[in-house]
């Protein structure tokens, strides 16, 4: 592709870089603030002195976190959850998106199925019936309680089925003429062509599993089984001081340990931030990878 650098193009590009840089700065500042707080002394953080640079630099909050077994235990639970949840999510997403991406002429039931799935985005029975269902299916207090109820990410299914529909029809037809069935077509043609979409929904599914906390708190019967974000939720929550019992006087001194909270928030988000650039590589490769030119 040839680039024409006309004057207006140059102006636009300069503006574009400046604008995107500003946007980037606005988005990165809060996390820098959190990072700065995590490296500051707690008194300085408590007084709101910390802006974007640590005040009275110290590693004590990280030291504190490193000596908290609960933090590491919860990371293990999260890894287990992500390890089981992502394959489940992705497998089901692909398996559902493929048939639903067919035209109604070829697969008349598709519209019915599609609505069956969409309705679940809009209606939910609420916590208590879900809890009872989970109990009845004997997955309470196991990692499956955090995997199976959300096993079908409907939003991702819809995204993927639209990407599937955007693929050139000729390829599919060619495959069928060659005698391939649906399974082969899906596996050999659709998936390799959908890498950007698959990377996107993998990211969404990962972030979703990584960040959910409520199911962990309700469906696990012991804090030892909490995933990371559930654990963080119990740490980061603002305690209601009006209900501090006098027996709890000592815990008052720990109420506002902002620096430790900040350290844990940062460490909690870090793995996703590390995985993200890796997944990004796939966004860049588009349809160029194969398809039409072959």
């Amino acid at each position: 592709m040839l680039e024409h650098y006309t004057v207006s193009r140059r102006v636009f590009l300069t503006f574009n870089y400046v604008f995107l840089t500003c946007l980037g700065i606005i988005c990165i500042l809060p996390i820098i603030h959190v990072l700065a707080v995590s490296f500051s002394s707690s008194a300085a953080a408590q007084a709101g002195y910390v802006k974007l640079w640590p005040v009275q630099f110290t590693l004590s909050s990280y030291d504190y976190v490193m000596h908290k077994p609960a933090f590491f235990k919860s990371i293990l639970v999260t890894l287990k959850r992500v390890g089981l949840g992502i394959p489940t999510n992705m497998l089901l997403t692909v398996l559902i998106a493929y048939p639903l991406s067919k035209e109604a002429k070829k697969f008349p039931m598709r519209t019915f199925y599609a609505w069956v799935f969409v309705v679940t985005i809009l209606f939910s029975g609420g916590l208590i019936p879900l809890y009872m269902t989970i109990k009845e299916t004997h997955i309470l207090d196991t990692v499956w309680a955090m995997v199976l109820p959300g096993a079908v990410p409907v939003f991702n299914v819809i995204l993927l089925l639209n990407f599937f529909r955007g693929l050139p029809k000729e390829l599919e037809e060619a495959a069928f003429i060659d005698g391939a069935g649906h399974w082969t077509t899906l596996w050999r043609i659709f998936l390799p062509l959908s890498l950007p979409a698959l990377a996107t929904i993998t990211l969404f599914a990962t972030v979703n599993h990584w960040n959910s906390w409520f199911d962990g708190l309700i469906f696990m019967n012991s804090p030892d089984h909490y995933p990371l974000q559930s654990y963080l939720q119990t740490v980061v929550i603002n305690r209601d001081l009006t209900l501090m019992s006098s027996a709890d006087m000592k815990s008052l001194t720990e109420v506002n340990d902002r620096t430790a909270k900040a350290a844990q928030i940062f460490l909690g988000a870090l793995p996703i931030l590390l995985v993200y650039p890796f997944l990004q590589r796939f966004f860049m490769k588009g349809i160029v990878l194969g398809s039409v030119k072959e």
Binding site: M1, L2, F12, L20, T21, G24, C27, P30, I31, V34, G48, L92, I96, Y98, P99, L100, K102, A104, F107, T111, V118, V119, T120, L122, F123, G125, G126, I128, P129, L130, T133, T137, P149, A151, V152, F155, I158, L159, N162, F163, R165, G181, H182, W183, P196, A197, T200, F204, N211, V236, I237, A269, I272, L273, Y276, F283, M284, K285, G286, I287
Partner: protein, 299 residues
Amino acid sequence: MFLKKWSGQLPLHLMILPGLVLILIYSYGPMFGLLIAFEKYVPAKGIMGSKWVGLDNFRYVLEMPESTQIIWNTILIAMMKIVAGLIAPIITALLLNEVRKEVFKRGIQTVVYLPHFLSWIILGGILIDILSPTNGIVNQVLGWFGIKAIYFLGDNHWFRYVLVITDVWKEFGFNTIVYLAALTSISPTLYEAAIVDGAGRWKQTLHVTLPGMTSIIVLLVTLSLGNVLNAGFDQVFNLYSPQVYETGDVIDTFVYRIGLVDAQYGVATAVGVFRSVVSLFSISLSYYLAYRFANYRIF
């Protein structure tokens, strides 16, 4: 003939089956809980044992003196969020698409996704500082242009806009990624053809890029319409205060008060059912419109 056709579709049914089973168990199974909306629900008596009150819970909500105000606030805030939340990522994705320096492009892409990872509790504390009328950075910048300090979080004229802008800022990175993925799947041959026709960058964007994204835009609009009555609980709860109840009190915060303070589960569920029905209606409508006028099935 019929048999052949059916066996051709069999693999398709099989593919859907596992997901369907799971969703029937874990999504449709618990839906009997929606009955709570029509009951004076007491946890100790269970869903079957609680008293049936018909539409009383719905009536209670609609007869609340504040309900008009609350519903109006919710719709207004939610609609502004839907519109702004749609435009911002498209523009960002298009601008990013013009960037040729890979490192820069990836860097910005990563960075715009960052605010998504901070909870509103944390962001609330930060926003109070940067939006402060006395020493907040935003008002200092406005001061350079001779604009008088604005009490963003405490002023009923501004509060809704603050909600919309900060929400878009937190979440736009998410959809930007979807649009970028859509951009990569536009065939390069289309651009090449456009260049041959003598189209500049602007024309290419207008005639190749945007049309290539149409289906995904329509899709995301439709899905976001499911949020017409969802103003975002965590955000509003962490940012509002008594002085902006007038413009900031929304269905979610209302449900929080009656659900938590008063433990009126029946009413809270009724509000949820009401919201789901409205969402289903608006999604169905846009699904129908897209099909009717663009002959395009969104899902």
